[in-house]
């Protein structure tokens, strides 16, 4: 993985020193809140309902054991013993004191981490496929490009005051695990017929109050042109993006209002001027960044096949965990392990200091010192030998980290919601917990099959409800919580925005409604192989409306 050079170290240390001075001056009353707020936000410090919140960047969701141990220590020493992994592959602390935040940032800088650009109208943490560099279906590792984008966008004066925040995601596999089509820019790394690497470029996607699927504006952008082309997009956006209305300021609105063809023409015109500039990436630079992400030297461990088969036979729970939470690695003797942060009835994405330390230890001992954070709020050990799976599983089991539910109905994304968030209108976590309890049975979950439920506590859609196969949006109606359900959303290579199925449900009716939807699907599906999403796309909403609302829904 990427290691800071001297420049990176200096840059982060200087930023921490600046921030410490800003906090000191704020606490002494030298600077007022209006002046200070943008400064703290530039360093990831928000104010929530109960306390400040610190969001720490985990670039493209990749970290090592040492970094995870430090995150655990910060949780213990400065917070309340836990952290919350987010849908931007970051981690949030819910209770830091403002006066402690400079010390926390110093601790992070020591392990090459920071909280820069985790807030504000800038280019946010670039996300990537969480299986990058390990997945069997990958064309190339997308992280070197994410790292190049990170370096290029960090503190870039031209992108420090964008009309609105800006999110970029990169994937290197046909199966899109990074939800690139609901990002401001989505990059799909592929090879052309000549075997050269480049990107399919999508622009103008996003969720929030106006969900829009990104438009493909480039079929193949050679890798060397990554920065010049992205700069061209950013310049068109910076020039024409709306600054008069926060809700119309994202690039998706600009692309939508300008029209795909005209927007694309403007980008091409801008690109013409930049194409052969210093933004062209030299092959040497690309290669030197890529070297940081060279796959670990994996020894053949063919012994694992037989031992794994025997262990699975002896322990059905282990077999079921392997089936659900271990995905194919490009090396046949290895697997990619998803560590579920979704125990039944638990808080999606939360991990205690002790759990974080265990994950760090397992990564160091059995996972070539690599850990990933997924946008689905789980953790991943990307390179584990099949021979070590059982040992890893036993250790995870003792720490309540071995729930065999990756991709199943209880693997729910939920934003912090009104339990923590100052923007939320309704709670998300209790809804997730109740659904998780209702569908706790592993047999039932397996029978239902792949089903993604995503819950947001407000229209900003941090819980990605628009792309949930079943999406749940909490709103406040007449002073009480109410939950709207959407069906048919998806954030993969066939992205779709879920459609509202009908009127909302009170908190105590939501789980019943979800069960009705699931039962309806089970009755409609052609066979056990037809997933909820496939089935819904085939049948449409009519049967679900009828099941949820009865005949009266026809009038509504």
């Amino acid at each position: 993985m990427y290691r800071y050079d001297e420049f990176d170290h200096d840059f982060v240390r200087q930023r921490v020193a600046q921030y410490r001075d800003q906090v000191d001056r704020r606490l002494s009353g030298e600077i007022a809140e209006d002046a200070f707020k943008p400064l703290r936000l530039m360093n990831g410090v928000y104010l929530q309902l109960h306390a400040y919140m610190l969001r720490v960047a985990v670039p493209y969701g990749t970290m090592n054991g040492k970094q995870m141990r430090r995150l655990a220590r910060i949780a213990r020493d400065y917070d309340k013993g836990y952290g919350h992994f987010t849908t931007r592959q970051n981690i949030q602390y819910n209770w830091p004191k403002l006066s402690d935040t400079p010390a926390i940032l110093e601790e992070l800088a020591e392990v090459e981490m920071h909280a820069i650009q985790t807030s504000g109208n800038c280019i946010r943490n670039v996300t990537a496929d969480h299986f990058a560099g390990a997945a069997a279906d990958e064309v190339a590792d997308p992280r070197p490009y994410a790292e190049i984008l990170r370096q290029w966008s960090s503190n870039h004066p031209e992108y420090s005051f964008l009309p609105r925040k800006f999110k970029i995601a990169v994937t290197g596999a046909e199966r899109d695990r990074a939800a690139i089509q609901v990002h401001d820019i989505g990059l799909h790394l592929k090879r052309n017929d000549a075997g050269e690497l480049g990107f399919v470029v999508y622009v103008g996607g996003g969720q929030g109050r106006t969900p829009i699927i990104a438009k493909k504006i480039k079929d193949f952008l050679p890798e060397a042109d990554l920065l010049s082309y992205t700069t061209a997009i950013m310049r068109v956006y910076n020039l024409h993006g709306r600054r008069d209305n926060k809700y119309k300021a994202r690039i998706k609105i600009l692309v939508h209002e300008t029209g795909e063809a005209e927007f694309s023409r403007q980008v091409e015109a801008e690109w013409e001027k930049l194409k052969e500039s210093e933004l062209k990436l030299p092959a040497d630079d690309l290669a030197s960044i890529a070297r940081y992400f060279a796959p670990p030297k994996l020894q053949d461990r063919a012994d694992g096949w037989a031992s794994l088969a025997a262990s699975k036979k002896a322990d059905a729970a282990f077999a079921s965990w392997v089936q659900q939470n271990v995905t194919p690695h490009h090396h046949p003797d290895y697997g990619v392990v998803t560590i579920s942060l979704k125990p039944i009835g638990g808080i999606p994405g939360d991990a205690s200091d002790v759990q974080m330390e265990l994950v760090a230890e397992l990564a160091e001992k059995f996972g070539h010192d690599e850990i990933r954070v997924t946008h689905e709020q789980n953790l991943v050990l990307p390179h584990v030998a099949l021979a070590d799976l059982e040992t890893v599983y036993r250790a995870l089991l003792d720490a309540e980290l071995a729930t065999a539910n990756a991709g199943l109905i209880t693997d729910i994304i939920a934003c912090p919601g009104l339990d923590y968030c100052a923007l939320a209108n309704a709670r998300s976590i209790p809804v997730a917990q109740e659904i998780s309890e209702r569908f706790a049975s592993p047999e039932r979950q397996k029978e239902i099959g792949d089903l993604k439920i995503k819950i947001s506590g407000c229209i900003n859609a941090c819980g990605h409800h628009h792309v949930g196969h079943i999406g749940i949006l909490g709103v406040e109606k007449k002073g009480a919580e109410l939950y709207q359900i959407t069906l048919g959303g998806s954030g993969d290579e066939q992205t779709s925005i879920g459609q509202i199925i009908g009127r909302g449900f009170e908190p105590d009716k939501v789980t019943d409604a979800i069960e009705t939807i699931v039962d309806t699907y089970m009755g409609l599906r052609l066979n056990a192989e037809e997933t909820f999403l496939e089935s819904y796309r085939r049948t449409g909403p009519a049967a679900y409306k009828l099941a949820l609302y009865g005949e009266t829904s026809k009038a509504a």
């Binding site: 704020r26 606490l27 009353g29 007022a32 809140e33 104010l47 929530q48 309902l49 109960h50 306390a51 400040y52 309340k80 209770w95 830091p96 004191k97 403002l98 006066s99 808080i347 009104l418 339990d419 923590y420 100052a422 939320a424 709670r427 976590i429 209790p430 917990q433 406040e476 002073g479 009480a480 919580e481």
Partner: protein
């Protein structure tokens, strides 16, 4: 009409309410209740003044009711601020002061 003044303390961000003695309290229970418009306006002024003195941020005058002498914010958001996360009863005011839970 019943209102109290709330904010978050500058240094640690913890939710606080203005008490009758002019102090910012960690606990809603002893907050000063404004029972008529003039009193509510005075809370506004007190809040602005504390903000200007850099004691607190995010000031708000919120609607409450009294149930058997216990102050009860009308909005769920404010009840959660006064008690803590409803999904972690071991954290927040509810853990420190053993108040009833929000929801």
């Amino acid at each position: 009409m019943m209102k109290v003044l709330t904010a978050n303390r500058l240094g640690d961000g913890i939710a606080v309410w203005l008490g009758a003695n002019g102090q910012w309290l960690d606990n809603l229970d002893s907050a000063l209740i404004a029972r008529h418009q003039e009193a509510a306006d005075a809370l506004d002024v007190a809040g602005q003044s504390a903000f200007n003195k850099n004691l607190v941020v995010d000031i708000a005058v919120i609607d409450v009711e009294e149930h058997d002498g216990v102050i009860y914010p009308l909005r769920l958001r404010e009840r959660i601020r006064a008690t803590g996360p409803t999904i972690r009863l071991d954290l927040g005011k509810q853990a420190e002061f053993k108040r009833a839970t929000a929801a």
